[in-house]
Amino acid sequence: MSIIPFGLVARPARALGRRAEDLTLAALDAALASRLGAEAVDRVLGSELLSRAVSRALEGPLIEAVARDAVRYAVIERLANGLSDDPELERLLGRALESPATERMLVRVLESRLVDEAVRRLLEGEELWLVVDEIAQSPAVTEAIARQSVSFADQVAGQVRDRSRSADARLERAARRVLRKPSAEP
């Protein structure tokens, strides 16, 4: 049975604990800021162990789980929503797209063998033609084609009408000249 009151001991103990936490965090900050910390991180990143760990993680069900969770929690939509409303991001994207470096990079990508290979594989794949079939049979596309065709036919018919009417007028003028009849036109 203790004869010292509990409050008398607990208060200094809590203060001591907070002090110890502060010291630990300060030591961690110092370690992270030090050359030793940077060196340690480099070594960890360059280690065989980390490579194996990453390989194991990628081989395992982690990727599928991440993908499932990304879909479940609408991560992409949330990111897109957050980013699309950001004017700063829009400005940065605009600058990046307008920069000569981006243009050079795009030219290099487009001229690379990679693009040819990607196109070749895309054309060989059955999925592309399924998509093309889907698009070609979609009501919007067929309606647009029909509208264009009707519009074109109307245009051709209109031109034929105009030309036939001017041919009528010429023919009648000639006939009236031959018959020496006065022109019907004023």
Binding site: A157, V160, S164, R165, A167, D168, L171, E172, R176
Partner: protein, 176 residues
């Protein structure tokens, strides 16, 4: 627009007629080929063949007559006329009766017989009428796709449904 320009001329009408002729012939050809193929596997004697050919000729005449007569007496426009935006009406702007449409077709054949000379009057007549138009008392007028059927009154074309109730249109064809 001048008086004569409301009526359609020879070239426009010839194109419309050519389109109609193509439609009539194409359908007759398809039917003829189908019937011919069907009959080719049946044992038919020479006499029956002659009768069938005569029946086919008669059917073609009836089909051609029906094509023009039905379109002229219903809408006043065959498909070819619709494409060329022209319409056949009576001299007073009225729609043709079936009998008059048949008469016009007969007159059309008559006009074509003397090497199409019957159509030449279209070139000089003030209302651009061919011999068949004169015989059947019809005119061929311009009919834009969006416009209602026109009635010709006092030399002015106007929609059929624009009559003032209680009044009758007065027609003046003295220009012809």
């Amino acid at each position: 627009m001048t008086e004569s320009s409301r009526y359609e001329g020879l070239v426009t009408r010839a194109i419309a007629f050519a389109i109609d002729a193509a439609i009539v012939d194409l359908i007759a050809l398809l039917v003829g080929v189908t019937v011919g193929l069907a009959l080719s596997i049946l044992p038919i004697g020479d006499t029956a063949t002659v009768v069938l050919v005569a029946a086919g000729g008669a059917a073609f005449l009836v089909w051609t007559l029906a094509y023009f007569a039905v379109f002229w007496s219903t809408t006043g426009q065959t498909p070819g006329s619709r494409l060329m935006q022209i319409r056949v009406l009576g001299e007073n702007g009225e729609r043709l009766k079936p009998r008059r449409a048949v008469l016009r077709f007969g007159a059309l054949v008559l006009a074509a017989l003397p090497l199409f000379a019957g159509f030449l009057t279209i070139l000089v007549d003030a209302r651009r009428r061919g011999l068949h138009d004169m015989l059947a008392r019809t005119v061929v007028v311009r009919a834009p796709a969006t416009a209602a059927p026109v009635e010709l009154t006092l030399g002015v074309a106007r929609p059929l449904d624009s009559h003032t109730p209680g009044t009758s249109p007065v027609h003046d064809w003295s220009g012809g």
